[in-house]
């Protein structure tokens, strides 16, 4: 398998599809309906909610289904900011968040909130000291991602949770990228809000959830029916919820094994690159095991990625680009300042189906393409 972009999305597991299929074809009811087929759907939805609550150490009522990570982040941030603006208008986040958080923050700024963007060190980590220093009496929300989607660096979420205990600020974490490998318990972390998405863990696209701690009130962002206890209107995505549940249960059963596998793949990749004499450094530290962000001195990002694609290998740079607008990765810029490193780094992310042989072949392709830049060799 030459797909090494699992941080972008993952293939769905067959078990997931099989679990979902009946809810498309036979048990297609609307969970809000009063008839039997509606009740069956409702039962499946509730069962999914219970299972996913267990997945993150929450209670079922604390799980609100959404369309995915972006909606969860948006709901958490706008919902928390607007529900608490009478207590203050200051929000804290980091410079390395996903755009679903950063662009929402920019909108909050336009809406009159003040946002502090915490710096990270060269490994991509925020310090507790910087959180303490930024915290003010009028801070109402702190949002720090669990593990970075570009370099994989884990943030000290539980420790930040401790720093915030006793403060009025709500604590949100985007855990979308971490759910496949990290055992997450919202109580241990001390978070009030946590975003999750199914398609990053071999579940279906179009479903995610927001954990909302009991007692936390968010301003409603969607109006319509009474679904999700009036927190998210719209007919529920029952097959999606069932698929998400199945994917999460597979993670719970296989998590340790996956971590061991991805660590072995990362070792094999680096070992092979070393053996091939490729100059590289791994960006980030204390990483999610499935993400390896490689600094490859001398490459040019755009042609590099095209040349890998032409060789049938799917990898990526941190940020997606549209219509040829390459903006240097905001994550790498936060880590290294404006340096060549920000546009000479590529992201490799492992998933189910990647083997050591695949990774060794990947290393050979990387070596081959790197040499076209460093030796001026043309095919």
């Amino acid at each position: 398998m030459n797909y090494f972009d699992h941080a972008a999305t993952t293939p769905m597991r067959k078990e997931v599809l099989e679990a979902m299929t009946p809810y498309f074809l036979e048990q297609y009811g609307n969970p809000s309906s009063i008839h039997a087929i509606g009740r069956t759907a409702r039962a499946a939805l509730d069962e999914a909610r219970r299972s996913l609550a267990r997945f993150v150490g929450a209670t079922p009522n604390e799980i609100v289904f959404t369309s995915g990570g972006t909606e969860s982040d948006n709901y958490a941030l706008f919902g928390a900011a607007y529900a608490n603006q009478h207590k203050g208008k200051h929000v804290i986040t980091t410079k390395v968040e996903h755009h679903a958080v950063l662009h929402a923050m920019e909108q909050l700024e336009r809406d009159g909130f003040e946002v502090t963007y915490l710096d990270v060190d060269a490994t991509g980590t925020v310090t507790l000291e910087s959180v303490r220093a930024a915290l003010r009496d009028d801070t109402i929300l702190v949002s720090v991602m669990y593990g970075n989607n570009e370099v994989g660096t884990l943030q000290p979420i539980a420790e930040i949770g401790e720093v915030l205990s006793g403060h009025q600020a709500l604590f949100h974490t985007d855990a979308v990228q971490a759910l496949g490998t990290e055992a997450i318990d919202v109580k241990v972390l001390g978070v009030d809000l946590l975003s999750a998405s199914a398609h990053k863990i071999n579940g279906p696209k179009g479903i995610g959830f927001l954990f909302i701690k009991t007692g936390v009130k968010l301003a409603t962002r969607s109006f319509g029916g009474q679904q999700e206890r009036k927190r998210r209107a719209g007919t529920e995505n029952v097959p999606g919820a069932v698929g998400f549940k199945t994917a999460a249960e597979l993670v719970m059963a296989e998590r340790t094994e996956r971590v061991v596998t991805y660590e072995a793949l990362a070792d094999a990749l680096c070992g092979r690159l070393d053996a091939l004499g490729v100059e590289f450094e791994v960006n980030g530290a204390n990483r999610l095991p499935h993400i390896v962000n490689l600094y490859l001195p001398g490459i040019e990002l755009e042609p590099f990625l095209i040349m890998m694609d032409m060789r049938g290998v799917a990898i990526s740079s941190g940020s997606a680009c549209t219509a040829g607008s390459i903006e240097p990765s905001h994550v790498l810029t936060a880590m290294f300042g404006s340096s060549d490193r920000t546009h000479q780094s590529v992201r490799i992310s492992f998933g189910l189906g990647n083997s050591v042989e695949d990774v060794e072949r990947l290393a050979e392709r990387l070596s081959e393409v790197v040499s076209t830049f460093t030796n001026g060799v043309r095919k």
Binding site: P303, I306, M307, M310, T322, A323, G324, S325, I326, K379
Partner: protein, 373 residues
């Protein structure tokens, strides 16, 4: 080197796809002919407006739609910096001198057939292809640049600076077709861009008001508008807004023939105007040009050919004398109207585009005309 004999299946062609119908059909035809085709969209200008809307995004959406329809991979590449440095800076510099530059000629020379071609070659491509109305062939060891078959659309004027090395790596798959046939093919293939309106004007200005655009980058210095005899006829808004032979926008009323721009004095900031389309001051019989480039081997000594002084003009007989300093003197059989400094003079031998140069000065009976200076 002639790569054109390589079998299509072994030949990789990178198509510069703009999101327009011409480059869409270009990619479609090459794919049908069995080439290994890759579509690449060039982003050369950041035109994001205050609402965050960017026409490049719309165009790239069309590239994606067409590439998926014909089944080729597509990518985007950013040449904003190269375009700014090599095309836009030149464009502004020429206007500062009171000249009328041709950014399309420069874009082909520096971006499409240099930065983009280099990019494609590095990816392992054999050729780049574009949707230009022009043709290339290979005869007697030389790659020839030929006029597009559709006389009305021929774009060799803009391609005059291409060299042998560039032509050797270039394909113009729709150059043998009429525009209307290109549309017919696009419609028959159901391409998403089949009915898309052709883009007009200079690419980075788009549909915007030219005067407004230019004023964002260059300070305008209003000054006197007068006849060559010194009779003041009004004020001009800044010399850069006017080009030789222009009629509109002068705002001179009164009796008699309409008024035209017949010259500029940049030092004194004077715009010269005269009455009548055929005003005598607009006519010259020779020009001096620089940045001379030949598509093939450089001719030796003086020779006869035809020349165009602007796009979509019938070429006329001339005598061409390359000078030792690299410039070229072009003498016309018949006097020509509004030879404009900054524009390209492009040479032809029949259907072959021989090359071209940038017009610097115009002469009448051996006397330099007061167009600029």
């Amino acid at each position: 080197m002639n790569l054109r004999t390589k079998a299509p299946a072994d030949t990789t062609v990178v198509v510069g796809m703009s999101g327009g119908v011409d480059s869409s059909v270009t990619a479609h035809l090459l794919k049908e002919q069995g080439y290994n085709v890759i579509g690449i969209f060039m982003k050369n200008w950041d035109d994001t407006d205050e609402n965050g809307v960017c026409t490049a995004t719309e165009d790239y959406e069309d590239v994606i739609a067409v590439a998926n329809q014909i089944g080729i991979p597509y990518y985007a590449v950013n040449f904003e910096k190269e375009y700014w440095d090599r095309v836009f800076e030149y464009f502004l510099a020429e206007y500062r001198l009171g000249r009328t530059p041709n950014p399309d000629v420069m874009c082909n020379k520096e971006i499409k057939f240099k930065a983009f071609l280099d990019h494609a070659l590095r990816l392992g491509a054999d050729f780049v292809a574009t949707g230009h109305y022009a043709r290339v062939d290979y005869v007697d060891g030389e790659h020839r640049l030929l006029r597009g078959k559709d006389d009305n659309k021929d774009q060799t004027y803009f391609l005059n600076q291409l060299s042998q090395d560039q032509l050797a790596r270039t394909m113009f798959p729709i150059g043998h077709m009429d525009k209307k046939d290109v549309r017919v093919i696009a419609e028959a293939a159901g391409l998403a861009t089949a009915k898309k309106k052709d883009s007009t004007g200079i690419c980075f200005i788009g549909e915007r008001n030219f005067k407004e655009f230019l004023s964002e980058y260059l300070p305008s210095q209003p000054g006197a508008m007068q006849t060559l005899d010194g009779v003041v006829k009004g004020r001009h808004d800044g010399l850069m807004y006017y080009t030789l032979g222009q009629r509109h926008g002068l705002g001179i009323g009164g009796d008699g023939d309409p008024w035209f721009v017949v010259g500029k004095n940049v030092e004194a900031n004077i715009l010269y105007v005269g009455q009548g389309f055929h005003h005598d001051a607009l006519y010259s019989d020779a020009l001096l040009a620089s940045k001379l480039s030949w598509t093939g081997a450089a001719p030796e000594g003086e020779f006869r050919a035809t020349a165009k002084f602007r796009y979509r003009q019938q070429d006329v007989p001339v005598t061409i004398a390359p000078l030792e300093n690299g410039e070229v003197l072009v003498k016309f059989d018949e006097p020509q109207r509004a030879i404009t400094p900054g524009q390209a003079v492009v040479f032809y031998d029949g259907d072959t585009c021989l090359g071209g140069a940038t017009i610097d000065e115009a002469y009448r009976n051996g006397k330099r005309l007061d167009y600029i200076g």
